[in-house]
Amino acid sequence: MRFTPTELTADELALQAEVRAFLAEELPPGSHEPGLGMSARHDKAFSKKMAERGWVGMALPTEWGGHARTAVDRFIVVEEMLRWGAPVGYHWVADRQTGAVINKFGNDEQRARFLPQICAGELGFSIGMSEPDSGSDLASVSTRADRDDGGWIVNGTKIWTSNAHTNDWFICLLRTTPLEEGGNKREGLSQVLIDIHNTPGLELGPIPFLNGEHHFNEVSFTDVFVPDENVVGQAGMGWNQNTTEMAYERGGPDRWLSPFSTVEQLLRETSGTELGDRALELFGELTARWWGIRNLSLSVARLIDAGEAPSVESSLVKEMGTRYEVELIEKLVEFVDDELTLDSESLFRRLLSQCVLTGPGNTIRGGTIEILRSVASKGLQGLPA
C-alpha cells in the first residue's frame, strides 16, 4: 500500500479552471437543484454539452472518439461536476466504467459501435450484476445463456438496475457455462451487451425507492436472443472482466462527494451571520476531512496513470469515503437539530432530507463496505482477493 502526495500541473489547473468557468456559466448557484454527487439528474442536453468539450470518455482512445486524457484529467472534471451537483447522470456509468470495459476487453467492431456514441454523451449504460439471490456473492449469478445459432438465449432476472429506464444499453454478467456440482463459480461467466429498449423478451419494471422515487429497475429476460457480436471479451472470462470493471468504480470522487453540495449550501444559507463555535467546528472538520480524503483519492488516479493497478488503495478509499459520507450526514442532522422535509423552502434542508433518505445506500451501492473490507484486508495481507 502506497499513497504518494501529488499536485496538479499547470495544465491540469487550467483544465480545472475551464471546468469551473463552464459550470459557473451553465449552472450558476441558485439556477438549478443540485444533485447528490453521482445520484444526479439525467440531462441529455447537459451530457452533450460536456461531450462537446471533450469531457465524456476522456480516457478513451482518440481513434474511437475519446480524448486519450489521463485518469487525473478525468478526476478533475468529475470532481468538479459532482461537487457542483451537476446533472451528469445520463453519461455517468458509460463514462466511468462501461466505455473502459468495452475498450479493454471488446473487439474493434464493438469499439466502433459503442465508444464514439459514449464519447458523444449520447449513450447511457446500465449495469446488470445483482440478481434476487446474488448480491454480495456476485459469482453466484444464475441468469443463464444457452448456446444458439450465432448467439445465446438468455433467461433470468437482474435487479437494482439503476436508471435502466432512462439509459439505452445494459452490460450484463451472466452464466454461459452451467455450473457443475463443486465447480468454481467464478468460471463460466460472461459479459454481454443488451439494448434495453429494443430487445424482444426483455421486460423492464421499476423497483421503487423507499420513498417511492424511481431509480432502480428489475430487468427480466425470457428467451432473449443475444448475438455473438454482443459478447464482450472472451466468453467464460466474465468474472475477471467484471472484477476489473468494479475496480474502475472504486476510490473516485463519487465515493466521498455525495453530500458536498449540501454542505456548500449550508454555508451559503448561513453566510452573513456570525458563525459560532459549533458551526466552525463542523465546517472545519468536514473541510479538513475532505482535503485529506481528496489527497488520497487523487493519488490513486496518479497511480493509474503511472500504469499501476491500485486495487487495495482504491478499496480503502471507497470504504473510507462512503463511511465518511454517512457520518457527515449524521453530523449535519445533529447540527441542524430540527425537523426536515423534502418540501422545505430551504434548498439546504431539501438536500439534507435527500441525504438522510439516500444515505444508507452510500455504503451499499457498488458492493457493501463489508465486502470491500474483505477485499482490502486480503490485499493488506498480501493474499489473493
Binding site: 423507499l210 445533529e334 425537523e339 422535509t341 433518505l357
Partner: protein, 348 residues
C-alpha cells in the same frame, strides 16, 4: 420491589391485534400515497384508543398516561399511519386541560410558537409541520397563558410531508374564531414540549424494536456464499448493535413514562429523548446496512420504521437541544449530585 404501575395486558393485546390486522405493509404504503388512512383511523377510533388517558367526563376514554404510551409504542412498532399522539395525549390533553370541547374527529397540534390569539379569541398565523393538518377537525395550541382550539376547516392548508412520508402540513389562519380558555398552571409551551418528546420516545422504542426484529429475520433468511448472512461476523455486529438500541430505546421510553406518570419526569423525558434520538441514528444505520439494497426499496417494509425514526428523532427536540437541557441539570446537581441525579432522576 416498589411495584411499578402496569398496563392492562388487554390494551397491549388489543392494540397489537388491531394494528397487526390493519397496518399491513400495503396499507401503510397506501396511507402514504393517499396522505391519510381513514379506515385505519376509523377502526382505531372505534376502540376509543385515541382518547386513552383523557378523562371520561371530558369525553375521553379514561385510563392512564402509561396506557396511552403503550398504545403509542405499538403505533411505532406497527408504523400505524395515524395521528394517535396528536389526538390524544398532546392535542386532546391541551383541550381537556383547558376545559375545551373534545371533538369527535382528529385533533392536531401546533408547537412552533407560530400562532397568536388576538382580540375576541381570533387566531392568526402560519403553523408549519403540523401532523395530519389536512385531516384534522381541530388544531390545539397553547400561547400566552391560554389554550386554544381552532377549526381546521377555516385554515389554508399546504400539504407537505415528513421524511416518513406522513403528513406535516402548513396551516395558515387569518383571524379565525376559536375556542379559547385560560391554561391551567403547568400547561404551557414547555410542558407541551416535554409531553411531545414523551410521545415520540414511546413510538421510537416500538419502531426500533420492530426494525431490530426484522433485521434478525431477514439476515437469517437471506443466503449468500451458501449460508445465512447472519452467520458472518460483520452482519452479527449489526444485529447486536440494533438489539442494544432496541433495548435502550424501549427502556428509556418506558422509564420516562413511569417517571412522568408519577410526577414531573422532566429529567427522564429529556434523557430518554436524547437516548432515543441517538439510538435511532445508530439502529437505522445498522439495520439498513444489514439489509443491503433490499432495505432501500419501497417493497420491503424496513423504511416504514427507519423513515419514521428519522422524523421522530428531530421532532420535539433534537439531540443537541436535549443534551444541553440534561447538561444544565447535571451542572445544577454538581459533582456530588451527579450520580444521585442518574439514579434518582427528577425525584433526586
Amino acid at each position: 420491589m416498589s411495584e411499578l404501575e402496569t398496563v392492562d395486558p388487554l390494551i397491549t393485546e388489543t392494540a397489537n391485534r388491531l394494528f397487526g390486522e390493519l397496518c399491513t405493509h400495503e396499507a401503510i404504503q397506501a396511507a402514504e400515497d393517499q396522505g391519510d388512512a381513514p379506515e385505519i383511523w376509523a377502526a382505531f377510533a372505534e376502540t376509543g384508543f385515541p382518547w386513552i388517558s383523557l378523562p371520561e367526563a371530558a369525553g375521553g376514554s379514561g385510563g392512564t398516561l402509561l396506557d396511552a404510551l403503550e398504545v403509542l409504542r405499538l403505533v411505532g412498532y406497527h408504523a400505524a399511519p395515524i395521528p394517535a399522539a396528536e389526538t390524544g395525549m398532546l392535542g386532546g390533553w391541551l383541550l381537556t386541560s383547558g376545559g375545551l370541547e373534545l371533538p369527535e374527529g382528529i385533533v392536531t397540534v401546533a408547537s412552533d410558537h407560530s400562532l397568536t390569539i388576538g382580540d375576541a379569541g381570533k387566531v392568526s398565523g402560519t403553523a408549519s409541520m403540523v401532523p395530519w393538518g389536512r385531516s384534522a377537525e381541530r388544531l390545539a395550541f397553547v400561547a400566552d397563558g391560554k389554550v386554544a382550539s381552532v377549526p381546521v376547516a377555516a385554515a389554508t392548508v399546504v400539504e407537505q410531508r415528513a421524511l416518513s412520508g406522513e403528513p406535516r402540513d402548513t396551516l395558515t389562519f387569518d383571524a379565525t374564531a376559536a375556542d379559547v380558555a385560560d391554561a391551567p398552571s403547568g400547561i404551557d409551551d414547555e410542558s407541551l414540549r416535554f409531553r411531545g418528546a414523551l410521545s415520540r420516545v414511546a413510538m421510537m422504542g416500538g419502531a426500533i424494536e420492530k426494525m431490530s426484529q426484522l433485521t434478525v429475520s431477514y439476515t437469517n433468511e437471506r443466503q449468500q456464499f451458501g449460508r445465512p448472512i447472519a452467520r458472518f461476523q460483520a452482519v452479527q455486529a449489526h444485529l447486536v448493535w440494533a438489539a442494544q438500541d432496541a433495548a435502550l430505546g424501549r427502556m428509556a421510553a418506558e422509564s420516562a413514562g413511569h417517571a412522568a406518570y408519577r410526577g414531573d419526569g422532566r429529567f427522564e423525558i429529556a434523557a430518554a429523548k436524547l437516548n432515543c434520538n441517538q439510538a435511532a441514528t445508530r439502529a437505522t444505520k445498522a439495520c439498513h446496512q444489514a439489509h443491503g439494497a433490499m432495505g432501500m426499496t419501497q417493497e420491503y417494509p424496513l423504511h416504514h420504521y427507519s423513515r419514521r425514526l428519522w422524523t421522530w428523532r428531530t421532532e420535539y427536540g433534537g439531540t443537541s437541544e436535549w443534551s444541553r437541557w440534561v447538561g444544565a441539570a447535571a451542572a445544577e446537581a454538581g459533582a456530588d449530585g451527579l450520580y444521585p441525579l442518574i439514579t434518582g432522576g427528577s425525584a433526586a
